[in-house]
């Protein structure tokens, strides 16, 4: 059977997380079955990543003024719901994404660490604002110079406070990271 070059889809496309028609290399079993353009092949990883990146349940660890900006982003004008990151969960057990919003002090560090440890895998951490990123303009005996001294951070959002657009950009970047991650352990 001749191979129709127009129908050849590189296997690499599927591995890269793209969803491609399931007619690799002209092996047109699917076509014969009349399922062309009805059955699609992809990676399990890509499907899981796709599902996970659009259902980010967040745990807002809001400690300072950045919280107002966080509320602005969550509200209807900017609306993180458009990206599937709408519902704040007030139990770490139910959350996927830990938003560290605001200054962290040394007295509070064990609390943040406990919250992070209580979250179930897979989990991601966003450092929201200058204080959570690096301590911001606080450089003294009581401030933790960045949440990444306590927990691993996936995305850093600069700004004091960040613009809502910056937060949405960070959210999209986190989604890209989730999509590109491995989700199945072999």
């Amino acid at each position: 059977m001749a191979v129709d070059p127009d129908k050849v889809v590189q296997l690499g496309d599927a591995r890269n997380g793209n969803i491609v028609p399931a007619n690799y290399g002209g092996d047109d079993i699917i076509e014969k079955a009349g399922l062309e353009n009805n059955v699609w092949a992809t990676r399990m990883d890509a499907v899981l990543g796709w599902a996970r990146k659009f259902s980010l349940f967040q745990y807002p660890f809001v400690t300072a003024c950045c919280g107002m900006e966080f509320m602005a982003v969550s509200g209807s004008h900017y609306d993180t719901d458009r990206f599937g990151a709408a519902l704040p969960r007030f139990s770490p057990r139910q959350a996927d994404m830990l938003m560290v919003v605001g200054t962290i002090v040394h007295k509070q560090a064990p609390v943040l660490r406990t919250v992070y440890d209580q979250m179930c895998e897979p989990k991601w951490v966003v450092a929201f604002g200058a204080c959570a990123v690096s301590g911001g303009f606080y450089q003294n005996y009581t401030s933790v110079p960045g949440a990444d001294k306590i927990i691993p951070v996936d995305v850093y959002i600069p700004g004091c406070p960040p613009r809502p657009e910056t937060v949405l950009d960070a959210l999209v970047k986190l989604q890209e990271k989730i999509q590109a991650s491995r989700h199945i352990a072999f």
Partner: protein
Amino acid sequence: MSGNETPELSPVLAAVLEGLGDTVLAWHSQHGDDTILIQPADRATVAAYLKDTESLAFDMLMDSTAVDYEDEEPRFEIVDHFFSTKKHHRLRLKCRVPEDKPNAPSLTPLYGSANWMERETYDMYGVVFDDHPDLRRILLYPEFVGYPLRKDYDKLHEQPLFESRYEGVRETDEKLHPRVGVELPIHGTEVPR
């Protein structure tokens, strides 16, 4: 403590000086703020007098704090601000305690608001208030060593409760789910190291 050149005493200060007599070591009314300096041992009795005297009626302790004069002796100055909600006048009460024995009577039995403010003064300066019902640190954690608002405390000296510094490696990505096979195009995932 100069300032006694003020030609006329304010009514409040006149009444206080008349009632307390030699207990007042010095006084002034700079910028309209009536201020008296006393011995630390007299702090509670003077406050009780200010509160209970009908013509003064200082029924509110607005603020209680301290100042560190590092190079002076006695080193710490306890500053209390009183206000009368009935008479609408104010008074500032100061007393000095030395570094080796930074003790003063507590005002908590007289004013409930003194409880947390004296705890903060203790937390930040190490001034000890006798008869305080619950003299613990209020803002910092019990493990903290030293008093950070003292001038000789290095403000950059941090005292973390636990040592934990991540090397920038996510458990999720690297340990649980090691990247194998095809190198994936990843955008914006560089982890700062």
